[in-house]
């Protein structure tokens, strides 16, 4: 049977992709992002060694538009091309999907009353593509494994509740544990920590809250599941409501987990956070 070996939570931002592609690892303002990824990357590639990753994220009008905007959407195709977000495609390989696992998850989640939009075409944007190279170095060895992308609406309100994302994670755990092949799975969630991109409050940052969020996600995620979208927006800026996505990853793990790595810094417009958690088994 398949099993979850661990989880990763990470910020995502176009700036991360820009820094990665320009190899800015020795620029003082970017060094912490590169150095802060090393321990998580080693764990992912050498210890966790996933056969597949399920990645919760949000799309930024690159796959979906407001003509039809899904609350939950899963990618089930064999091939997952990279999106051109308006400033050219990144020089990285396309992703492989995992149709068999993705359809198994779809059947299991729908049986559990999570009614998904199922996508045979899914272009992947910086929601996945900005943090993942830091954790896998695809230019050296390609992507380490196929992925199952899972998009959550956090850009057009009403967005799902944090508790709904938490329950989605728990339902994903059940789905993975009932998959008949013997696979090692890492569940990842990406979403911006404190930031605001709209109105006169543009640039709002709250590193104290971001760090409190990382503490609670590890030790008391139920407290985070109880918060409303407005609570998140007040504390971390409107666009930080993306943090509810992290609850899906945490909901897929056991109550007690081992922390492998944690990194945080906030140089400019948003907090860059990274958390790697391992299942104790």
């Amino acid at each position: 049977m398949a099993r979850i070996v661990g989880g990763i939570g990470s910020s995502h931002a176009p700036s991360m992709a820009h820094a990665y592609d320009h190899r800015w690892s020795d620029k003082p303002e970017w060094q912490p992002l590169f150095e802060g990824s090393v321990a998580a990357r080693r764990w992912l590639l050498e210890v966790a060694r996933p056969d597949a990753m399920v990645i919760f994220y949000n799309d930024h009008l690159n796959r979906f538009f407001f003509d039809a905007y899904p609350t939950f959407a899963i990618g089930v195709s064999e091939s997952l091309p990279l999106a051109d977000e308006g400033w050219g495609r990144r020089p990285l390989p396309d992703f492989s999907g995992h149709p068999d696992l993705a359809w198994h998850i779809t059947r299991s989640l729908i049986a559990d009353e999570f009614d998904l939009t199922v996508c045979q075409e899914m272009e992947i944007d910086h929601g996945i593509l900005s943090p993942l190279p830091f954790l896998t170095e695809p230019e050296k060895r390609g992507w380490p494994c196929p992925i199952v992308p899972f998009a959550i609406n956090v850009i057009q309100h009403p967005v799902p509740t944090a508790r709904r994302c938490w329950k989605l994670g728990a339902a994903l755990r059940k789905a993975i544990q009932s998959y008949p092949r013997d696979l090692r799975i890492v569940v990842m969630s990406t979403g911006g920590m404190s930031h605001q991109l709209n109105g006169k409050r543009f640039g709002f940052l709250n590193p104290d809250w971001d760090n409190e969020f990382l503490d609670l996600l590890e030790a008391d995620p139920q407290a985070l599941a109880a918060l409303s979208a407005e609570d998140y927006m007040k504390r971390g800026g409107c666009e930080s409501v993306e943090l509810i996505i992290w609850l899906a990853m945490r909901g897929a793990l056991s109550p007690q987990v081992r922390r492998i790595h944690r990194n945080y810094y906030a140089p400019m417009l948003t907090g860059y956070g990274l958390l790697a958690l391992e299942e104790m088994q």
Binding site: F66, E85, G86, Q156, G199, E230, M233, K234, A266, L269
Partner: protein, 115 residues
């Protein structure tokens, strides 16, 4: 938990909800179309003509021509779309944000702690 005292917090922010999604539909459609290089070229060659084809109202077109990012958001523009429009026009997110705050880019950068 940390509770910042901030008079600009929601509901005073431009939270993007269904109502804005409907009001700003044409603005967002214009902005999202900038994902394709041929659309960027057509738009830059004739902004008014391109916008008219997509059905933007005269007021919406004025907001775009004035590069009024605050006004575009208030009219229902979604920032993830507007950043694509900015990209086509050579205007980045920091320039857009500084304008929303009523600051120059230099003034805005002074508010940032660069670690």
């Amino acid at each position: 938990m940390t509770e910042p005292q901030d008079p600009l917090a929601p509901p005073n922010s431009n939270v993007f909800d269904g109502q804005k999604g409907m009001r700003g539909y044409r603005i967002n459609k214009l902005a999202q179309s900038m994902r394709h290089p041929e659309n960027r070229e057509a738009f830059l060659a004739d902004e008014r003509g391109y916008m008219a084809k997509l059905g933007l109202s005269a007021q919406e077109q004025e907001l775009v021509l004035r590069r009024d990012w605050y006004g575009l958001q208030a009219a229902g523009g979604n920032q993830y779309a507007l950043v694509k429009l900015g990209g086509a026009l050579g205007i980045n997110l920091v320039q857009q944000g500084a304008q929303m705050r009523g600051e120059t880019v230099e003034q805005f950068l002074k508010t940032r702690k660069r670690s």
